[in-house]
């Protein structure tokens, strides 16, 4: 597709369950980013993939969070043993090179932990 695609668009899960969020970047974009936005907060950086380099995981809030990316394609963000404070909109972005001026964001996945 022409844009960054995220699925699901909405997810409600019970506390303690694992969830997996998916991001399809724009074809050819080497850089992929995950951000989250909790209610009333700004966009919080989580993780960054650039080509075959080791990912920058410095924003992951706990070891319950992990992300993978296969080559320059799909990425999945996994949250294990979800907590209520994980409720947020999770946004994925991609860019052609690792430069912030070329970010294209997806529409996000709204995660609600009940």
């Amino acid at each position: 597709g022409a844009g960054v695609s995220q699925s699901p668009s909405n997810k409600v899960t019970e506390k303690g369950k694992d969830v997996e969020l998916r991001c399809d970047p724009i074809s050819g974009h080497t850089a992929l980013y995950w951000y989250r936005q909790r209610l009333g907060q700004g966009l919080e950086f989580l993780i960054y993939f650039q080509g075959n380099s080791a990912p920058d995981k410095s924003g992951l809030p706990s070891d319950r969070f992990s992300a993978e990316r296969t080559g320059e394609s799909v990425s999945t963000l996994t949250i294990q043993r979800t907590q209520q404070e994980d409720s947020a909109v999770y946004l994925c972005a991609s860019s052609l090179v690792g430069g912030s001026l070329g970010y294209t964001f997806g529409s996000g996945t709204r995660l609600t932990v009940v």
Binding site: Q41, G42, L43, Q50, S100, S107
Partner: protein, 113 residues
Amino acid sequence: DQQVKQNSPSLSVQEGRISILNCDYTNSMFDYFLWYKKYPAEGPTFLISISSIKDKNEDGRFTVFLNKSAKHLSLHIVPSQPGDSAVYFCAATPPGRDDKIIFGKGTRLHILP
């Protein structure tokens, strides 16, 4: 510790008037400053940016002003249009890391008819 601060959660402006969105930052070494616009249920979209070596950048109805001594930047929209109603995020890139963006909390702009 918020490095990029947008202290006004919302702003209402009459259609046709000027909208001024403000942003303060703490790190004097930021390289680039950016503004993103976000509609409900959509991802943020890039609007305009400014390098830290400049003090003004203009693109159509949008102008960003940077005051480095005050660590303050502002986005001016003139004239304001109904389609400008959205959440606006101020953002900055750390020195040497233009691949990483630090965002503010956003300001919701309402354009009144």
